[in-house]
């Protein structure tokens, strides 16, 4: 299927725009409301998000810890993911 050049250009523009928007925004998902101190600590550990807008999200099923979403990049430091890793380890060990 051939895509019309104009449509292709529009799609490119849209994607660049979306990527640009996404690169400016960081989503911080946690199991509970993070304190300012904790947010600052996280910013210190991840210097690349210092000057970016942070959107806070709460997902109780994470149990503890947090997930950092930067566009397509995901840093999962939740207790849930640790438990899943333990599950994998148990499966491999048994």
């Amino acid at each position: 299927m051939k895509i019309k050049p104009r449509l292709k250009e529009d799609l490119k523009k849209f994607l660049f725009l979306k990527l640009g928007e996404e690169s400016k925004v960081v989503t911080l998902i946690s199991s509970h409301k993070l304190t300012n101190e904790q947010i600052e600590d996280i910013k210190e550990r991840f210097p690349r998000i210092k000057n970016k807008e942070i959107i806070l999200e709460i997902k109780e099923n994470l149990m503890a810890g947090f997930i950092l979403k930067e566009g397509s990049k995901i840093t999962d430091l939740s207790l849930k993911s640790n438990l899943n890793n333990i599950k994998k380890n148990i499966y491999e060990l048994t």
């Binding site: 904790q38 149990m63 503890a64 840093t75 430091l77 438990l83 599950k87």
Partner: protein
């Protein structure tokens, strides 16, 4: 002579009659009759010869027949022996093939059993890990309160290495 009752004229006439009869008999009856007898004898001789020839031929045919029968019997015996041998070899081949089939089926069944065993083992492993996680998950949900969650999150943040690029997916 007349006193003896003999009539010379009659005697001569009878002699002439007899002579004539003899001549006629010899010429017209005895000769063809003898020829006929001779011919019959020759025919009989020929018949005898033919009969003996036929008997001889019959004997020869009988001998040939016996020899042919013997040959036929021999061939038949050979054929039966060969058929028996072939049947035995075919029987052996069939048994061999059946044994191979049985062996293969057994091997396949063993492999299948082993695969099923492995599959069950995997399922069991998966169940164990799932169950362990569920137990831990439930226990943690019961234990975790807001304060503990905050403490754990703080501990996670503090334990992060300086080079966080390792966590990038």
């Amino acid at each position: 002579m007349e006193n003896l009752g003999l009539d010379y004229k009659l005697l001569i006439a009878q002699v002439i009659n007899f002579g004539l009869f003899f001549l006629l008999f010899k010429k017209f009856i005895a000769k063809p009759f003898l020829n006929l007898i001779k011919e019959e004898e020759e025919n009989e001789k020929k018949n005898e010869q033919l009969k003996s020839k036929l008997l001889k031929q019959d004997e020869e045919i009988e001998v040939k027949r016996n020899s042919f029968k013997d040959e036929l019997d021999e061939k038949e015996d050979k054929l039966i022996t060969s058929a028996k041998e072939r049947a035995k070899s075919v029987e052996l081949k069939i048994i061999e093939e059946a044994e191979e089939d049985a062996k293969r089926i057994k091997q396949d069944a063993l492999l299948e059993i082993e695969a099923e065993k492995q599959d069950l083992y995997k399922q069991l492993k998966n169940k164990i890990s799932e169950l362990s996680l569920i137990i831990v998950d439930k226990s943690l949900k019961e234990v975790l309160n807001e304060d503990t969650k905050k403490k754990i999150t703080s501990a996670i943040i503090k334990n992060l290495p300086k080079d966080t690029s390792l966590y990038e997916n």
